[in-house]
């Protein structure tokens, strides 16, 4: 276990729902991250 590692235990019966939610979250995060990166250019 490296210093930056953590763990997460998911009930296997809920994995399909978790996967769907992770995909949706990651997509939203990507939109926000692209916006923030673009916006940050005004400060460089």
């Amino acid at each position: 276990m490296t210093p930056d590692q953590m763990t997460c235990a998911i009930p296997a019966g809920k994995l399909a729902d978790v996967v769907a939610a992770v995909i949706a979250t990651a997509e939203a995060d990507a939109v926000v991250a692209r916006y923030a990166a673009q916006d940050a250019r005004r400060f460089s």
């Binding site: 276990m1 590692q5 953590m6 763990t7 997460c8 399909a16 996967v19 939610a21 979250t25 995060d29």
Partner: protein, 196 residues
């Protein structure tokens, strides 16, 4: 039949996991066709504890590499892990040297030891392995992920009510198996040393 391979690969891709998800399966006996974990037993500690690895959390790391089954004696070196995974009761381990050290050092209070979540049904075997390689006759109870801070951020947003816990790390498996709730852990000093 659940598509464990597909779910595991999709989750790995979405989270950009560096280590593939691990399936952990509790059963009455070893599943047919799954290899037994066969590392030699350690020399016994002064109180007689021994096992094939230092602690059950070591199996989480090994389970990323291959599928294998374990039985109670394989987990015998770590009293806390034995307890959280349903392989021993608090009464079974309370006089052990490792528990005495954890309590005596102030790492955990005696009262807190008795409140650690545990699996209540004693398993005959626990199987570990990459989720994407889950055998047809194995149906995992818990999916364990090795994550970093960014991945925890995504999981925290994606899973309402995700619990974020600390020591001892191994009880997140009990929360997922016993209480059917997802739980992350920041790790614990015991596990970090044993899995370094």
């Amino acid at each position: 039949m659940t598509d464990w391979r597909g779910l595991g690969e999709t989750l790995s891709g979405a989270l950009h996991l560096a280590t593939p998800p691990i399936g952990i399966t509790f059963s009455a006996q070893r599943p047919t066709g799954v290899a037994s974990f066969d590392a030699p037993m350690s020399d016994p500690a002064e109180d007689g504890r021994t096992g094939r690895v230092a602690a059950g959390c070591v199996f989480w790391a090994r389970g990323a590499e291959a599928t294998f089954s374990t039985v109670a004696e394989d987990h015998g070196n770590c009293s806390v892990g034995r307890m959280t995974h349903g392989l021993a009761t608090l009464a079974d381990v309370t006089d052990n040297g490792d528990v005495a050290l954890l309590v005596g050092s102030g790492w955990v209070s005696p009262e807190a030891v008795g409140q650690i979540p545990v699996i209540t049904e004693r398993p005959g075997a626990i199987t570990y392995g990459p989720l994407s390689e889950t055998p047809d006759n194995v149906d995992p109870d818990v999916v364990l992920l090795w994550i970093n801070g960014r991945q925890l951020m995504v999981l925290s947003d994606a899973i309402p009510g995700l619990r974020i816990k600390g020591k001892p790390q191994c009880y997140i498996v009990a929360l997922a198996k016993q209480d059917k709730v997802a739980a992350a852990s920041v790790g614990c000093a015991l596990s970090r040393a044993r899995t370094a």
